[in-house]
């Protein structure tokens, strides 16, 4: 029991009609670490996230979080157990102000509004969005919307946070800021599982990468080893 | 074996269902092509009924008035799209719901104001007799309305299935982006589809005047039935509409006879709720 990782996925399958988006997906995520999920387009990374977080119901397989089976539980129940996420295409509450949007997340563990607002402010300070707390979600830049999503996810005090392409579309400076932020999230004791395609970012950051191709894991190990693995290169570039 | 009134009721249910189908096919067409639930759909039906009544005053019976009404409603529909619905589609998601809802209130108010709440029926009905076919008695007017609806539904199906604009409509309702990549002008086709949908309703309005009376709130009654029909068949499914309409027609007529006339709509609404709770995509709809 004690040696089971924080998240353990076994034989996960997700079918959409004929298409098998996930086809026997296995994954272990160790507590307190940053694990990265990479793979070519259409490999099933976002579907894997959706199935782990509960946004979609897996067709088969097991997802154990903190030693407990969570596959097929409703989305909000899994969030309450301590899994938070961001989206590949940002999903902010556009009509709410920044602090209100984060308060929605903060209310999960702090039902009293005043406490939730205070906590939201603290998290906004942590992600560097405090100065924009009264702006509407829809008027933020892309980088700030991503920060807002991150703040909303963190405000639920998750044990595990799933980050889907948080770096996409960011300028190099914004990327560097994001890397710093990820490190400080790890320092808070939050485990990270992230989908990312900029390997450059992952190299110094990830403890372990899992490469997904056609719905199956084809490699698990250090980022350096992944970049040199012939199977991984073939998955990306096609057969030589 | 005595089968009682059942055959009579079934015929009557089918004839009623065909008219429902004609009204609903317009609703589902508009929804399929542009994702708009036209809450004012019944009010266009009401307008068409008044138009038919008006044309009756200058001597055209409903059958002769039908083509005039259809063309007028098509133009009206296309204009309403061009100058109103198009703007709503660019706004927030509730805009379309509230906009067509506002249209409902506006048109109903206008009818009450200009035509009063009186019931109007055409003064020159072309059919008045009753046919007796093997023990089944059918009003000629009801039969004519049902058969007229059948012909028009067949025409619409044929149009959607076998013509170039019909193909474009189907393409748009299936995948808007892919349709654009084929070179289909979405705004033009939307206006066309809205016009066509309203024209279908217009035709139904003309046929309804063979057996019904026009009054300002008749639209809401039929629209409610049309929503049920469309939801049963699956929103956007043209073929599903025929199935849904016949089902609703039969349920309404049989329910009215075997339960109580005043309760005839009860099983229809119950059927709607049962279907949306158990099979939200409708009987033939795709998810």
């Amino acid at each position: 029991m004690s040696d089971e990782p924080l998240l353990r996925v076994r034989g996960l399958e997700k079918r959409f009609g004929e298409l098998r988006a996930l086809d026997g997906f296995d994954l272990d995520v160790a507590e307190g670490r940053l694990t990265a999920l990479i793979g070519p387009n259409g490999a099933g990374k976002t579907t894997a996230f959706a199935c782990i977080a509960g946004a979609q119901r897996p067709s088969a397989g097991s997802v154990r979080f903190k030693g407990r089976e969570v596959a097929g539980l409703p989305y909000h129940r899994i969030a309450r157990l301590g899994v938070a996420r961001t989206y590949q295409v940002v999903q902010t509450f556009d009509a709410m102000s920044v602090v209100e949007a984060v308060t929605v997340g903060a209310l999960l563990r702090r039902p009293k509004l005043s406490e939730a607002r205070a906590w939201a402010d603290e998290i906004l300070g942590f992600v560097g969005l405090h100065a924009k707390r009264t702006m509407l979600g829809r008027s933020l830049t892309i980088a700030d919307k991503k920060r807002l999503e991150l703040a909303r996810a963190l405000s639920t005090e998750p044990r595990l946070i799933l980050l889907d392409e948080v770096m996409a579309g960011l300028t190099p400076t914004e990327c560097a800021d994001a890397v710093k932020l990820l490190r400080s999230i790890l320092a808070r004791g939050v485990t990270i599982l992230m989908v990312e395609h900029v390997m450059e970012v992952l190299m110094p950051l990830a403890d372990r990468v899992v490469v997904l191709a056609a719905g199956k894991p084809i490699f698990a190990g250090s980022p350096q080893a992944a970049a040199a693995d012939p199977l991984v290169i073939e998955a990306y570039l096609g057969r030589p | 074996m005595d089968v009682g009134p059942l055959p009579q009721l079934i015929v009557s249910g089918i004839l009623t269902g065909l008219l429902f189908a004609l009204i609903s096919v317009g609703l589902t067409l508009i929804f399929g092509v542009m994702d708009v639930v036209n809450f004012a759909h019944g009010e266009f039906l009401m307008l068409a009924m008044y138009a038919t009544f008006g044309l009756g005053l200058i001597g055209l019976n409903p059958i002769l008035a039908l083509p005039v009404v259809v063309v007028a409603m098509f133009v009206l529909g296309a204009l309403v799209y061009r100058f109103f619905v198009k703007r709503l589609l660019a706004g927030p998601p509730e805009a379309v719901v509230f906009g067509t809802f506002g249209l409902l209130v506006f048109l109903q108010g206008a009818a009450q104001f200009f035509f009063t709440s009186d019931y109007r029926s055409v003064l020159n009905p072309p059919f008045s007799g009753t046919l007796h076919l093997g023990g089944i008695a059918i009003g000629e007017a009801q039969l004519a309305a049902g058969l007229g609806a059948l012909v028009l539904i067949a025409a619409i199906f044929g149009f959607v299935e076998y013509t170039e604009p019909g193909r474009a409509l189907r393409a748009l309702s299936e995948d808007r982006v892919a349709a654009q990549l084929m070179g289909i002008d979405v705004q033009r086709m939307n206006a066309f589809a809205f016009g066509l949908g309203i024209a279908c309703t217009g035709a139904a309005g003309a046929l309804l005047m063979l057996t019904y009376q026009a009054y300002p709130r008749i639209g809401t009654e039929f629209a409610l039935t049309a929503f049920v029909v469309v939801a049963l068949g699956g929103f956007g499914s043209v073929h599903g509409v025929l199935l849904g309409a016949l089902l609703v027609g039969l349920v309404e007529v049989l329910g009215g006879y075997y339960i109580a006339p005043a309760l005839k709509m009860l099983p229809v609404y119950a059927l709607y709720l049962a279907v949306v709770f158990l099979r939200p995509q409708g009987l033939l709809g795709r998810r």
């Binding site: 509450f93 509004l113 | 509730e94 509230f98 906009g99 506006f106 108010g109 929103f235 939200p280």
Partner: protein, 316 residues
């Protein structure tokens, strides 16, 4: 708006209405004020679910009618109209839970049409039930006037009672805006999927708000029944009532504290003005005007009159 601002506006509205009631002796104006307040409460309760949570209902008369019928029945058979108010609200809450649970699995137009269907079923059932007076409705017993019997000689006391209910609805709405449920409702409207990702059980939250809204609508229905001493299906459960309630909300502005009262004021004012101009023929012209108003508002300012006011404030 801050809470202090709400309190200030509230105080002004209450004082103005109370003064008007004290000094106005025109029974017709008073009965208009009563209607306006009832519609403000109805529009506000509709706003909870259709405005804040964005689930557009066209069947809200269900709860107005439930309150009217339940309290009328209770008052007829058991006496105290005050208990009847509570009874009407309780029945409406139970009904809201029963109806809301399956209906909130539906989204968008499927939900809207389901609300119409449920209200229509209720109307058909009432119209065909002997104990409820069928289509003719039934009259409430006339009791000696007084606060205990909730029956009064003039219209003014009714307005004051409605004013109390209105104040309660407004306070409840401000409280809702500053509560966990209020935040959750707005998050659901903004993005239900993202709300679920931070632990919001959308269906439970919506059902909760629905039950609260039903209670207020039922209280409005009970007061209405006590004032007219008569209930019938069409004027309490009919689709046209549901439409009028939504109209008040849309015209005033959804998702705001002061939108529905504003919409109710415009609604009753227009009706009165039009009736005065056109006499008995006015029926229909008011709808025409509201329809035109909605069309104009939706194409120009989808946030309703309250939205226009807010925009104006933001500019100055």
């Amino acid at each position: 708006m801050t809470v202090q601002r709400h309190v200030a506006v509230m105080a002004c509205v209450l004082a103005a209405t109370a003064l008007f009631t004290a000094f106005c002796h025109d029974q017709f104006l008073l009965s208009l004020a009563f209607t306006g307040l009832i519609f403000a409460v109805l529009g506000q309760s509709w706003n909870w679910i259709s405005g804040y949570a964005g689930q557009v209902s066209f069947g809200h008369a269900l709860f107005f009618g439930t309150g009217a019928y339940a309290s009328a029945l209770f008052a007829t058979h058991h006496g105290s109209p005050w208990l009847a108010l509570a009874c009407g609200a309780a029945v409406a809450v139970v009904l809201a839970l029963l109806v809301g649970f399956p209906c909130f699995a539906l989204r968008g137009h499927y939900f809207s049409i389901a609300t119409i269907a449920v209200a229509a079923i209720a109307e058909i059932v009432v119209v065909n039930t002997d104990a409820l007076g069928k289509a003719n409705g039934f009259e409430l017993p006339i009791l000696p006037p007084g606060l205990a019997s909730l029956q009064f000689a003039g219209k003014a006391p009714y307005v004051l009672v409605a004013l109390v209910l209105f104040a309660a609805a407004q306070i409840a709405t401000v409280a809702l805006e500053h509560s966990r449920t209020g935040y959750y409702l707005r998050a659901i409207r903004a993005n239900q999927e993202a709300a679920a990702s931070v632990g919001v059980d959308a269906r439970a939250v919506k059902v909760t708000a629905f039950a609260g809204a039903a209670a207020f609508a039922a209280l409005a229905g009970s007061l209405y029944a006590q004032q007219t001493l008569f209930v019938d299906a069409e004027s309490t459960l009919g689709l046209s009532v549901s439409i009028a309630i939504a109209l008040v909300g849309v015209v005033g502005g959804i998702g705001t504290v002061w939108g529905p009262p504003l919409g109710a004021f415009v609604y009753t004012f227009l009706a009165r003005y039009v009736a005065a101009l056109y006499g008995g023929h006015g029926r229909g012209f008011d709808l025409l005007l509201y329809g035109a108003l909605i069309l104009a508002i939706v194409s120009v300012q989808p946030e309703g009159i309250a939205g226009i006011a807010r925009r104006f404030r933001a500019r100055t």
